[in-house]
Amino acid sequence: MIARTLYDKLWESHTVHVEEDGTTLLYVDRHLVHEVTSPQAFEGMRLARRKPWRVSANLAVADHNVPTTDRSGGIADPVSRLQVDTLDRNCEEHGIVEFRMNDARQGIVHVIGPEQGATLPGMTVVCGDSHTSTHGAFACLAFGIGTSEVEHVLSTQCLLAKKMKNMLVRIEGPLARGVTAKDVALAVIGRIGIAGGTGCTIEYAGGTVRSLTLEGRMTLCNMSIEAGARAGLVAVDEATLAYLKGRPFAPRGELWDRAVAHWRTLKSDPEAKFDREVAIDARSVKPQVTWGTSPEMVVTVDERVPDPDREKDAIRREGMERALTYMGLKPNTPMTDIRIDKVFIGSCTNSRIEDLRAAAAIVRGRRLASNIRLAMVVPGSGLVKAQAEHEGLDRIFKDAGFEWREPGCSMCLGMNADRLEPGERCASTSNRNFEGRQGTGGRTHLVSPEMAAAAAIAGHFVDVRRWR
């Protein structure tokens, strides 16, 4: 028998039909739906007089547009409100389970899927959102799709796809105190570039990955798309099973035992061949801070803003110069000299309970620096928020001067009211530092929750390894 990767196994077990050129009809087990990329798909289905193929495969939630302040009065912005109302109406019409805005289980789609056990090993999970790669932490094939594909999945429970290449990122060694999954993810992107994983599915393996919690693995898989890979994967182990047991959508009793027996096979065979392999020494990973307008424009906190004059490639040099102008930074400035205006702790990358605990541990007993205009914590879901409040984390943040908000995508992309003003500089735990991402003219530096928390207290970036 030919040795297979985890990706090979997931792909083959979902193949319904193969065209002559290899284009494959791939079965979809779980379809997550949100308000931004679904209305045109439901409308297309209606126009074609089609119905959802399997209603129970879908789970919906509004996350991008929802306000993170008091929601009892609904959504003030009529354009945002219409989009959320449209999702409610579409789900109601077709009987799709939806966690509505004021449901305690509402949250960011990539937080609630795993939290509910709606994401399970061995599944294919798709969503009209590129950060669907997050779910691969559970050894399922999870990737983002466009709206036409959302309609395709709703109508046929399948997708047309070509198999990607297998890429292995092996990470070995212990992480230093203050170095997190986010730093590993940014270090990988810094190493292979934002198109380094294009055309590939990345499997993350090695002792470091094994030692990460499922929250950390989700952070790692989440950022796969920032390296160009539609999907990231981590094999099943005891931690995966422990995370899922007892979750509302997870199997119970005898079915759980049967499922576990199958899930334990969800790993790459020892002899499996990868098209590309990258090795990362975790001991060499330091806290990361992006300086530019692409996640690959990243350095470690003890470094300086790069100098374009030292870049030989003309296209890259122009890109660096443009990024520095946009970011309002001078070459060779120490990263720790960069002062910030706002802090955002949240997003599908870093808004889980572990992230909030880590940030709170930095903040405890301190106050925001005087130059910080706004620091906000946006939990990934209503359940994360409730857990954090149960642990008293909300008090720690509020006592320090942070705003404690309702769950949603919030200032990761600023589709709701949370955004940067032109020229404002933000330490953000989100995933994209593109021009205007957090608000027109806004300047984003991607960091871990610990680094964001420390920057909020210091008013500028600091090396969290030396905190206290």
Binding site: H17, D21, L120, S148, K162, G228, M415, F434, T440
Partner: protein
């Protein structure tokens, strides 16, 4: 049915930067629409205009950025966008190809594209042509040197050529994608021809892994 794509003879506009992300192609504030149309006026909004664009507001009379390439008179009416590597990276928003198509582009030429964006283009009759970095580089020089520079993109022959046929470059595309694009086929309809196979697959899966169907 989407518009079928066979051959295109069009004016070329150059966008000379690498890693253009979908947040630049269509900024987030315009994603609040529940329609498939109305995005063309906001294509590259933050680069194209000097003020900040707002959703559900008219764009008439907004100050244009004269330095942005698509605002230059010589590129008005362009239907082919020449771009650098990793075009369309980032978010999965299909609003990006919707905006490009509504603006008037029917084909893109670049050395590489982000995977989700590439897919989304094909679903909308917008042909993403992949040429080598050297070929793309040469085209950037030619577009700059010759005002009114046009190209012929022939999907059936899988070639990009100068109108006089003097220079012909071949490109690859999956046969199935080509078939759908050339015929303007709705691939949901194509997939539903396999409905029996999907049902059989589903039944077997339900039997073998019932926990997936709870």
């Amino acid at each position: 049915m989407m518009e079928s794509f066979t051959a295109l003879h069009g004016l070329v506009a150059p966008l000379d930067r690498a890693n253009v992300d979908t947040d630049q192609i269509i900024p987030k504030q315009f994603l609040k629409s529940i329609k498939r149309t109305g995005f063309g006026a906001n294509l590259f909004d933050a680069w194209r205009y000097l003020d900040e664009g707002r959703p559900a507001k008219s764009d008439a009379g907004r100050p244009l950025n004269p330095d942005f390439v698509l605002n230059q008179p010589r590129y008005q009416g362009a239907s082919i966008l020449l771009a650098r590597k990793n075009f369309g990276c980032g978010s999965s928003r299909e609003h990006a190809p919707w905006a490009l198509a509504e603006y008037g582009f029917r084909a893109l030429i670049a050395p590489s594209y982000a995977d989700i964006f590439f897919n989304n283009c094909c679903k909308n009759g917008l042909l993403p042509v992949t040429l080598t970095e050297a070929e793309v580089d040469r085209l950037f020089h030619e577009v700059a040197a010759f005002p009114g520079f046009r190209l012929v993109v022939d999907l059936e022959k899988q070639t990009v050529a100068t109108p006089d046929g003097g220079k012909v470059m071949r490109f690859d595309i999956d046969p199935f994608r080509k078939y759908c694009l050339v015929n303007g086929l709705d691939d949901i309809g194509l997939t539903l021809r396999h409905a029996d196979k999907i049902r059989a697959f589903e039944e077997r899966r339900r039997f073998e892994q019932p926990w997936l169907f709870g």
